[in-house]
């Protein structure tokens, strides 16, 4: 057990036989917890029952169950005589929901907090615990962030059971393992390590479990908490795990031998290991026909290059190597830049900064205000700034192109490193020209070549080159051909 910062001290180890003593002890433990309900059912002098539960977490239909009602009625009808028939009571409850007996105080308290109903009967040194969770939750909705034109419209919710069921429905085999782990000393967040036995490499599963076991957290609110603690390299702009809210992506990844980490309380599921190329694979690549998928993938490659390089290239070429431009083009650019007071780099940095600002302002704004931001941004920066001669029109075009290009990367968290790296590249191109861009690219490539995600080289299968596995990297090969593709992780022919 991880030592807690503020451990709960339990006055006793186990509960006693006296109901009132137990009640007093629990009331003390749950002091100032108005949502914890202590419901006394005193049917007779010898028939004393206490039910403890958290209001809102449990399914109150338990009380409406006909068996429970009839039992109460029977007891009440007996004229308030006779002791509690404990075995009978247990049976009654057992019919309604799965039950277990518990006498340890700590376990009882934790179960109550986990949405179970605890029933204490006077004279019995144990409590009956019923699993009655009936929490309020959001239903399965359309994915909000990962939209696909073709493909399922389901997305994960905040409830772990729903999420696991969404995956289980798609992989109907006992080989799909969903191993529970509880993380967070305070939050006791349930986490599920999902993998398909026989597909995922056992050493990888072991590695994930080992890293998860090493986590010490008080509260786990989102999968990001876990991601940061189990990733290979913290000081890297590149994410080493991918997150998704789409069950179909999780299913496909599991069948490729990857591991998914599902966290209760968030619809974002972590998938690992990943490579750099997952940034360019969208779900629809596998739903649309392969020609279109391949062409679109190449579009993404080009747009990716634009999003990383365009501003730096523009700066390097205009300030260091104007010889590279065709003469007519140069004439236009020179004319447009005429009268702009800032050097090219400063202008580019300014505009990129403004763009990031606009994006940041737009992300969290209510929808009604969001459009105002875009109008102001487009008008003020696009029109007025150029008219006023503060920035040049080509620069506005460059920055907007870059912005659009960066949105074309299907995985949001994979587009972040390029947004970050754009700025150092811009600076180095402003200082050293094309040479600076080459140096920056070298540094980035060196870093990426060294990077691993759970033992899988980040650039594989391009570097190290595995020719039999590139059918789903630079192209999306037709499904008939992709069948012979060896699983990167499982090492056996894959059918999908």
């Amino acid at each position: 057990m991880i030592p807690s910062r503020n451990p709960v001290s339990y006055p006793r180890e186990t509960i006693g036989a006296h109901l009132s003593e137990n009640e007093a002890m629990l009331r003390q433990l749950f002091e100032h917890c108005f949502d914890v309900v202590f419901q006394r059912v005193d049917l007779s002098e010898e028939c004393l029952i206490l039910m403890v539960y958290v209001d809102g977490l449990i399914d109150k239909n338990v009380f409406a169950s006909p068996l429970f009602q009839s039992w109460v009625a029977e007891k009440a009808g007996a004229g308030g005589k006779g002791a509690v028939d404990y075995p009978v009571l247990k049976e009654h409850f057992a019919v309604v929901r799965p039950i277990r007996n518990e006498s340890r105080v700590q376990e009882i308290v934790e179960s109550v907090l986990r949405a179970e109903l605890a029933v204490f009967v006077d004279g019995e040194p144990e409590a009956i615990l019923l699993e009655t969770s009936g929490m309020e939750h959001r239903g399965v909705e359309e994915p909000a962030n990962e939209v696909a034109i073709r493909g399922p419209r389901e997305s994960f919710t905040e409830t772990l059971q729903i999420n696991t069921s969404l995956v289980r429905r798609r992989i109907q085999t006992p080989h799909l393992k969903l191993e529970p782990v509880v993380l967070g000393t305070f939050s006791k967040t349930r986490i599920v390590i999902a993998y398909v036995e026989g597909e995922a490499r056992p050493d990888l599963i072991g590695l994930v479990k080992q890293r998860l076991a090493g986590i010490q957290l008080d509260v786990v609110l989102e999968s990001g908490y876990i991601e940061e603690l189990i990733e290979d390299r913290t000081f890297s702009p590149f994410p080493q795990m991918m997150n998704t809210e789409r069950p179909d992506i999780v299913t496909a990844s599991l069948m490729e031998g990857r591991i998914a980490i599902m966290t209760d309380g968030t619809p974002q599921v972590l998938i690992l290991p990943i490579t750099f190329w997952t940034a360019f694979q969208a779900v629809e690549d596998y739903y649309e026909r392969f020609i279109y998928a391949t062409l679109i993938r190449w579009t993404r490659f080009v747009l990716f290059a634009i999003s990383l390089y365009l501003p730096s290239l523009y700066v390097a070429i205009t300030t260091f190597h104007p010889q590279l431009l065709p003469t007519n083009f140069l004439q236009n650019i020179t004319s447009a830049r005429e009268g702009v007071p800032f050097p090219g780099v400063i202008e580019a940095l300014l505009m990129e900064f403004l763009f990031e600002g606009l994006r940041e302002a737009g992300v969290r704004l209510p929808k009604a205000v969001g459009s105002a931001v875009s109008i102001v941004g487009a008008l003020v920066i696009g029109e007025a700034a150029v008219k006023a001669g503060i920035v040049s029109a080509p620069m506005v075009i460059i920055v907007s192109l870059t912005g659009i290009a960066s949105f074309a990367i299907p995985r949001y968290n994979m587009s972040i490193p390029f947004r970050i790296l754009r700025f150092p590249l811009l600076l180095s191109s402003g200082a050293l020209g094309l040479f600076g861009i080459a140096m920056g690219t070298l540094l980035i490539l060196t870093h990426m070549a060294r990077l691993e995600s759970f033992g899988v080289p980040y650039l594989s299968p391009i570097a190290p080159f595995q020719p039999d596995q590139i059918k789903d990297v630079l192209i999306r090969a037709p499904r008939r051909k992709i069948n012979s593709l060896k699983a990167t992780l499982a090492g056996r022919p894959r059918r999908r």
Binding site: F235, F320, E338
Partner: protein
């Protein structure tokens, strides 16, 4: 990992010390020279003329402003001229976009060898340029000519060169190569200033080729047809228009010959060089005045024959003109001899100019007419 960071930072800092990395200059601080001209002044000094691109401040500001600017500099050497010119200009002269260089005729006659050094040694000047000789004029005169179709006249000339089927931006490189081919004579394209008396305006026209001797002094010109015939042999053009006359004043016809190919066969007989030039190609009849039905194979063969004799005659004349007047091998015959008879070449190359002039050149033309157009005889001559 932690120990790498200082090393990385040091490496990045050291990068910034590299010289050559600090040639950062904003577009607003540069003045792009699109063409330059060199003239020889009477006192032997050089006059350097630059044609610069003037960026227009977007839509506003009156459209009547000329998009280019001409400035001059005087000096004993090109770099002196450049300095002289720079002192008159508020922006740094950038010659990375200089596509055309003009030499005045006097300059070319005096010799261009000294200029070539500046063009090739200066890192700011680029090799992908065309050098022109202004026939019968000065570079200054030529550069002051305005050209209505393109915003900057220099661009106009490059485009003309492109349209007539020549590679643009290669004549500087070509002359550098030529210089190092033994026995070969350097050539440059030539332009002239025309005064059109009918339209009463001055305009520019591509003239042909200027031929230089081995001392890189202007020896003379080839006109447009002569130039094209030369290019047929050197394999640098893809089409040539041939006008031939039928005997007895029966009329003329014009053929455009494409798919040009030339082969040079050399032989050395008792110290005398004999050169056979084989020309092939396929012709399209563009115009035919004689009342002859070309659909008949006999007539077509006659036409073919007349055209081939014509080509042979003209080509021979061109070669003879070069042999007699200029005495420089501009047809790469020396190169062919070197490949076909290396031993003889070793003996001949020392005085190749003489051997070239004395060589017996025979031209064999085997051009086929492939298309005659849509009709047999001309429409009104049955």
């Amino acid at each position: 990992m932690r120990s790498n960071l200082p090393r990385l930072l040091t490496a990045i800092l050291l990068l910034s010390l590299l010289t050559g990395c600090w040639d950062r200059r904003e577009l607003n601080d540069r003045l792009f020279e699109l063409a330059s001209g060199v003239d020889r002044l009477e006192d032997g000094k050089l006059l350097l003329i630059g044609q610069f691109m003037v960026p227009s401040t977007s839509e506003e500001g009156g459209g009547a402003k000329k998009p280019y600017l001409i400035e001059t500099g005087v000096g004993k050497m090109v770099s002196e001229c450049l300095l002289d010119m720079q002192l008159k200009l508020s922006r740094r002269i950038t010659r990375g976009h200089r596509n055309n260089i003009y030499f005045g005729e006097d300059m070319a006659k005096a010799g261009i060898a000294d200029l070539m050094d500046s063009v090739t040694r200066d890192p700011d000047s680029r090799l992908k340029s065309d050098i022109w000789v202004v026939k019968g004029g000065t570079a200054l005169e030529f550069m002051q000519l305005s050209y209505p179709l393109e915003s900057i006249p220099a661009i106009g000339l490059s485009k003309i060169r492109h349209i007539i089927g020549k590679t643009t931006g290669n004549s500087l490189l070509e002359i550098l190569v030529e210089e190092n081919v033994e026995g070969s004579g350097p050539t440059l394209p030539a332009v002239e200033i025309l005064y059109d008396t009918k339209l009463r305006k001055k305009t520019l026209q591509v003239y042909g080729r200027a031929i230089f001797n081995r001392d890189q002094q202007l020896a003379g010109y080839l006109n447009r047809m002569e130039s094209v015939y030369r290019l047929w042999i050197t394999g640098e053009t893809d089409r040539i228009p041939i006008t031939a006359d039928l005997p007895n004043g029966r009329g003329s016809f014009n053929t455009e010959v494409t798919l040009l190919h030339a082969k040079t066969r050399t032989a050395v007989n008792a110290g005398r060089v004999a050169i056979d030039v084989y020309l092939t190609g396929s012709g399209v009849i563009l115009e035919s005045q004689p009342a002859i039905d070309l659909r008949k194979p006999d007539h077509l063969r006659e036409f073919e024959d007349i055209m081939n004799r014509r080509i042979e005659k003209d080509q021979t004349e061109v070669i003879r003109k070069v042999q007699r007047q200029f005495k420089v091998d501009v047809f790469h015959f020396g190169k062919a001899l070197d490949r076909q008879h290396p031993q003889d070449w070793a003996r001949l190359k020392a005085h190749w100019e003489q051997s070239f002039s004395d060589a017996e050149v025979t031209v064999h033309s085997r051009v086929k007419i492939k298309r005659i157009g849509l009709q047999g005889p001309p429409p009104n001559k049955p």
